[in-house]
Symmetry: C2
Subunit: 112 residues, 2 copies
C-alpha cells in the first residue's frame, strides 16, 4: 500500500487551481480549436485562412478565436482588413505535443 494515508495533503484544497486548469482544457477540447492551435503554433494566420483550413464559416472561426484570446491563448494584430492571430501562451506547445503524441502522431511527422 503506497502511502495510502492520503494525509489530507489535499482534500481538494486547491479546487480553484483545478477549475482554472479545467477551463483551459475545455478551451482545447474542440476539434476546430485544437486544429487552430496547432496551426498557430506554426505561424501567424488570418481568420479567413484558419476558417478555410478548418472548413468552417469565418464567423465561427472568429468566435473560437475570440474565446481563446480571452483565455490568453492568442493575441491579434490587424493589418489592413485582415487580422493575424498568434500564440501568446507558451505552454500550449507542450500540451499540444502531448495530444499529438497520443492522437495525431501519424499525421504530423511528414511535415519535417
Amino acid at each position: 500500500m503506497p502511502d495510502r494515508t492520503k494525509a489530507k495533503s489535499k482534500p481538494f484544497g486547491d479546487a480553484a487551481a483545478f477549475s482554472e486548469a479545467a477551463e483551459c482544457l475545455k478551451m482545447l477540447a474542440h476539434p476546430v480549436r485544437l486544429r487552430i492551435v496547432q496551426l498557430l503554433l506554426q505561424g501567424r494566420y488570418t481568420v479567413g485562412e484558419l476558417a478555410e483550413d478548418c472548413g468552417v464559416p469565418d464567423n465561427v472561426a472568429s468566435e473560437h478565436l475570440r474565446l481563446m484570446q480571452r483565455c490568453g491563448f492568442f493575441t491579434s494584430e490587424r493589418e489592413g482588413r485582415r487580422v493575424y492571430y498568434q500564440v501568446a501562451e507558451p505552454h500550449l506547445e507542450n500540451i499540444i505535443n502531448c495530444v499529438e503524441d497520443r492522437f495525431l502522431s501519424s499525421l504530423q511527422s511528414k511535415s519535417a
Copy 2:
C-alpha cells in the same frame, strides 16, 4: 514568412483524429475529473475515497469514473464491497504533467 503555402497539407482532413482528441480532452476538462486522474496516477483508490477527497457525493464520483472508464482511462476491480479504480491509459501521465506544469506546479513540488 515561414512556408505560408499551407500546401493543403491538411485541409482538416483528419478531422476524425481531432474529434477523438477533443473528446479525450473534454473528459479531462472538469475539476473533479482532473483531480481524480491526478490521484489515480499515484495509486489505486475506491469510489468513496475519491469522492471524499473531491468533496462530492459518491454517486457523482461514480458517474465521473464511469465516463472516464468508457474512454479507456481507467479499469476497475471489485474487492469485497469496494471497487478500486486505476489508470489504464499511459498517456494520461504526460498530459497531466503538462497541466500541472502550467497550473498546479506550486502544489505538487513538495511531494518529491
